[in-house]
C-alpha cells in the first residue's frame, strides 16, 4: 500500500478509528462496564470525587478543573495538591519548570490552569509564565512568599492571571476557576467578534454518552450559550455548521504555514512597522481577522523579546529587533523554536516542520512527525477490516502542502470523532458503546464511504481557517495535528486515551493509578479513566505528580524524568505499562506484556485484528507525544512509557520491519527524527486474550 508521501496519516487515522471502533465493539460486548472497571481499578479515589466519576456524573464545575502545579518546594507542592484534591480538581504536580513545560507541550489541551511558583531553581517562574502564555495560552497563576507590590506587579506584567501569596489557603484555590472561565469568555468573545468559524462541538466532545465532560467546558458552555449536544455524526462531518454561539469559539490555529506567512509579512514590513492591519493585508488569508493578527503579533513580539534576551546571553549574536525568524531561531535553541512556533499556538507538529525547515535539525521534542509515522505504521500494520479504508483514504490525503493546514481540518474531524473516543475510553459508556460508535462510526465503519466523506469534508474544511480553538480544544487540536488529515486527528484521540491510561508517572510507585484524578473522572479524562483501568495499583491520591527526577520505573512521562530521553529499561517498563493500559482498556485487565507493535504483521497486511487493536492503541499513545492528547491526563504514574512512546515511536521501529518501509512520510519523519528507542516487541498474541 503506498501512501502519499505527505499525508499518510489520514489512512492511519482511519485505520485507527476503525480499529478503535472495532475495539470498542469488542469491549462493549464485555461484561464489564466502564464503571465497574473503574471501580475495580480505582478504589482509592476519595469517595466524594470517586463517586461522582464512578456514577458517571459530570463533576460540577469547578470540580474537575485540570490544574498543573509547579513548585520546587515539595512541602508546598504536597499541600497545594491536597487542597486541590479537596477542591475536586484534577491536579498534576511538578517540581521542575522544565518538566512542567514539557508536560504542557505534550499534553496540550489537558490542563486548564497552571499554578506556578515564582522562584524555582531551573527556570524562573516568569519565564515559565511567558512560555505558557505564548505556547499554550493557559491562564497562569503565580505563587510566591514575596508579597511586595513590585513582585506582584512583575507577575502582572508578565501576564499572570493572578498572584497568590504563600502560604496559599484553600479558599484561594477554590477561586482559581474564575481565571479559566474569564479567559474562555474573552476568547469566545474575541472569536465571535471576529466571526471566526466555530468548530463547535469539539468541546462537546461528542460526549453524548460521556458524563464526564470537562467541567470547565461545561461551565464555559453554560455561560456561553445553550449547550449543544448534537450527535457525533453531525459533528463529525458538519463542523462548519456548528452553532457558533454554543461551542467554544474556534481559535485561529497558527499553523506553520500561517505563521510563516505572518513572519514574512512582518519581515516585509519591518518589525517596527508591522501593524496588524498591514500584516493582515499582506498575509491575505481569508477568514483571518485583524484581531487574530494583533494578538498573535503581541505574542510574537514578546517571544522575540525573550529570544533576543536569551540570544544575547547565549552568544550575543541576535539582535532583538527585526531579525528574521530564521536568524533568531538559529541562534536560539530548539526550545525557542518550539516556543516560537508555539507562539501562535502552532501545533507541535508544525513545530517539527518549522523546525526542520528553519533549522534543518529535528527537534527532539517534536514528535509529531515521528508520532505520525508511528501511528501510520501502526495503523498500517494492523490488520483490520477497515484497513482498506485506510488505504482508500490515503489517497485523497495527498495533496496538502502544509502540514499545518492539514491539521486543521483533520483536527476538526478528529475532534468530532475523538469526542466519541474520548467518551470511549474514559467513560464506561464508551466502553461498550455507543459513543464511540457515533463518531467512530464514521470512521470506524467499515465503510469506505464514510471515511471518504470525512476526508472530503476535511478537505473542504481546510480552506476555512479559523480553527476554533477554544482554549482547551485548541490544545487538543494542536496536539492532534499529528496527522494532518482528519484521520490524524482521529487517531489522536484514541491515542490520547491510550496514553494517559498509562499511568501517570508519579514519583511514587507505579501504583499511582489514582493519579487519574481524584474523581476517577472520565470523560475528558479518557486517559485517566483508562489509566484507572489499567492501573493495577491504586493510588489514593488523585493528583498525579510529575517527578522531576528520573523515576525510571515509574513514571517518567514523556521522558520527564530526564529531559529528553528515557532509558531503555524504563521505556520497556513503560511500554509495558502502556501496553497494559492499552490492553486493559475496556478490559480492565492488565496485560503482562506490552503489545508489540505490529511486529508480526505486515503493516499493510492488516493481518490480525488483535494486534491491530493493540497497535492501534499503542499508537494512539504515541501519537500523543507532542500531540495534544485531548484527554485529561493526570499524571499519575503513568509510565514514562507514554512519554517514551511518543519519543520513541519505538514500536514502529521495532516491529519493524515492514513499517519502516512504509509510507514515505515515515521515511521523512525518520529523517527528521531519529527513533529514540527501539521497543522490544512483545508477544502480543496474548494480549487480548480473555
Amino acid at each position: 500500500m503506498c501512501f502519499p508521501s505527505k499525508f499518510p496519516f489520514a489512512p492511519v487515522s482511519i485505520i485507527l478509528l476503525c480499529s478503535l471502533s472495532h475495539i470498542v465493539r469488542r469491549f462493549s460486548a464485555s461484561e464489564l462496564s466502564l464503571n465497574e472497571v473503574v471501580a475495580l481499578v480505582a478504589p482509592m479515589a476519595p469517595s466524594r470525587s470517586g463517586s461522582d466519576a464512578c456514577r458517571g456524573g459530570t463533576p460540577e464545575f469547578p470540580a474537575g478543573l485540570r490544574v498543573l502545579v509547579v513548585d520546587d518546594d515539595a512541602t508546598t507542592l504536597r499541600i497545594i495538591e491536597q487542597m486541590s484534591i479537596r477542591c475536586r480538581y484534577r491536579v498534576t504536580t511538578c517540581t521542575e519548570a522544565t518538566v512542567a513545560l514539557n508536560l504542557l507541550r505534550e499534553r496540550k489541551g489537558c490542563f486548564d490552569v497552571v499554578l506556578s511558583d515564582v522562584h524555582m531553581p531551573d527556570m524562573d517562574g516568569y519565564k515559565l509564565l511567558e512560555h505558557v502564555g505564548l505556547e499554550m495560552d493557559l491562564p497562569v497563576i503565580m505563587m510566591s512568599g514575596d508579597s511586595t507590590t513590585s513582585a506582584v506587579m512583575k507577575g502582572i506584567r508578565h501576564g499572570a492571571c493572578d498572584y497568590l501569596i504563600k502560604p496559599v489557603r484553600e479558599e484561594e484555590l477554590r477561586n482559581i476557576w474564575q481565571h479559566v472561565v474569564r479567559k474562555i469568555w474573552n476568547e469566545n468573545k474575541e472569536h465571535d467578534n471576529s466571526g471566526s468559524m466555530e468548530d463547535s462541538d469539539w468541546n462537546k466532545r461528542g460526549n453524548d454518552d460521556t458524563e464526564y465532560t470537562s467541567s470547565v467546558a461545561d461551565a464555559a458552555e453554560v455561560v456561553k450559550g445553550p449547550k449543544k449536544r448534537s450527535s457525533l455524526k453531525e459533528e463529525d462531518i458538519e463542523l462548519e455548521s456548528d452553532d457558533p454561539a454554543t461551542s467554544k469559539k474556534p481559535r485561529v490555529v497558527w499553523s506553520v504555514e500561517l505563521h510563516q506567512q505572518f513572519v514574512s509579512a512582518v519581515n516585509q514590513l519591518g518589525l517596527d512597522k508591522a501593524v496588524p492591519k498591514r500584516i493582515l493585508e499582506l498575509m491575505n488569508v481569508p477568514g483571518l481577522t485583524r484581531e487574530n493578527v494583533a494578538s498573535h503579533l503581541q505574542k510574537f513580539r514578546l517571544y522575540l523579546k525573550r529570544l533576543s534576551g536569551v540570544a544575547q546571553q547565549q552568544n550575543g549574536m541576535l539582535n532583538a529587533v527585526p531579525g528574521t525568524i530564521e536568524s533568531k531561531l538559529s541562534a536560539t535553541g530548539r526550545f525557542d523554536i518550539q516556543a516560537l512556533a508555539a507562539a501562535g499556538h502552532v501545533p507541535p507538529e508544525t513545530l517539527a516542520a518549522l523546525h526542520a525547515e528553519l533549522l534543518g535539525c529535528p527537534a527532539s521534542n517534536i514528535m509529531s512527525t515521528m508520532d505520525q509515522a508511528t501511528l501510520l505504521q501502526a495503523s498500517i500494520g494492523l490488520k483490520h477490516s477497515h484497513a482498506e479504508h485506510a488505504v482508500a483514504y490515503g489517497q485523497p490525503l495527498v495533496k496538502r502542502p502544509n502540514i499545518g493546514t492539514d491539521f486543521l481540518p483533520s483536527v476538526l474531524t478528529a475532534n468530532d470523532v475523538s469526542s466519541g473516543y474520548g467518551a470511549w475510553p474514559s467513560s464506561n459508556n464508551t466502553m461498550g458503546s455507543v459513543r464511540p460508535n457515533n463518531s467512530v462510526e464514521r470512521v470506524g465503519t467499515q465503510n469506505n464511504n464514510i471515511l471518504m466523506d470525512i476526508l472530503d469534508h476535511q478537505q473542504r474544511q481546510q480552506p476555512q481557517q479559523k480553527q476554533q480553538q477554544h482554549h482547551q480544544q485548541q490544545q487538543q487540536l494542536r496536539q492532534q495535528p499529528l496527522i494532518p488529515d482528519q484521520s490524524c486527528s482521529i487517531n489522536v484521540q484514541p491515542s490520547c486515551l491510550v496514553v494517559p491510561s498509562q499511568s501517570s508517572d508519579t514519583p511514587q510507585a507505579v501504583n499511582s493509578s489514582a493519579s487519574v484524578n481524584q474523581n476517577c473522572s472520565f470523560g475528558r479524562n479518557s486517559i485517566i479513566d483508562y489509566s484507572l483501568l489499567s492501573q493495577k495499583s491504586n493510588n489514593s491520591v488523585s493528583a498525579s505528580q510529575f517527578p522531576s527526577r528520573d523515576t525510571k520505573a515509574q513514571g517518567v512521562l514523556y521522558g520527564y524524568t530526564t529531559p529528553s530521553t528515557c532509558s531503555m529499561s524504563s521505556i520497556n517498563g513503560n511500554f509495558q505499562h502502556l501496553q497494559n493500559s492499552t490492553l486493559t482498556f475496556g478490559a480492565a485487565r492488565p496485560f503482562p506484556s506490552p503489545l508489540p507493535m505490529s511486529d508480526r504483521q505486515d503493516p499493510y497486511g492488516f493481518k490480525s485484528g488483535d494486534s491491530f487493536d493493540q497497535v492501534c492503541l499503542r499508537n494512539i499513545g504515541f501519537i500523543g507525544k507532542g500531540i495534544c492528547i485531548p484527554n485529561r491526563f493526570v499524571q499519575n504514574e503513568i509510565d514514562s512509557s507514554v512519554s517514551d512512546f511518543s519519543q520513541m515511536k519505538v514500536h514502529v521501529d521495532s516491529s519493524g520491519n515492514t513499517l519502516k518501509e512504509e509510507p514515505n512520510f515515515i521515511n521523512m519523519q525518520k529523517g527528521s527524527r531519529p527513533m529514540v528507542e527501539r521497543y522490544q516487541s512483545c508477544d502480543h498474541s496474548s494480549v487480548f486474550t480473555e
Partner: protein
Amino acid sequence: MDGLVQLQKQLVDYTASLFHEGFLDDQFNQLQQLQDESNPDFVVEVVTLFFEDAERLLNELTKTLGQPSTDFKKLDAHVHQLKGSSSSIGAHRVHRICISFRNSCEEQNVEGCLKNLQQVTHEYSLVKSKLETLFRMEQQILAAGG
C-alpha cells in the same frame, strides 16, 4: 477510658501551647483540616517533607556560609526556600527568622547571616521536637483507642 480522655486533653493543651508560643500558626490548622479519612496521615506526611527539606537546606546554608567567599545569591535562594516551606506548614518562628535572614543576605552581611543561621537552626530543632512530641501523643491516643 479515663486514660484516653487524659491523653486527649493533653494533646489539646499541648497543641494550644504550641500556638500560643508562636511555634505554630494558623497554617498548621489548615494542614489539619486537609487531613481526612482518605488521607489520614497527611499532616505527618507534610511535616516530614518539611523536615527533610529543612535539614537539607540548613546543611546547604551552613556549607555556603562556610565558603571563603559567601555566595549571597545562593544563600538567599536557600533561605527563600526554607521560608516558603516553613510558612506552608505553619512553622511560624522558623519563618520569622528566615525573613530577617533574607534581609541579612540582601545586605550581604556575613555576620548577620551567621547569626541568623544559628537562630534558624535552633528554632528548627525546637519546632521539630515539638512536632514530634505532638505526633507521638497522637499515636498514643490512637493506640489507646482514640
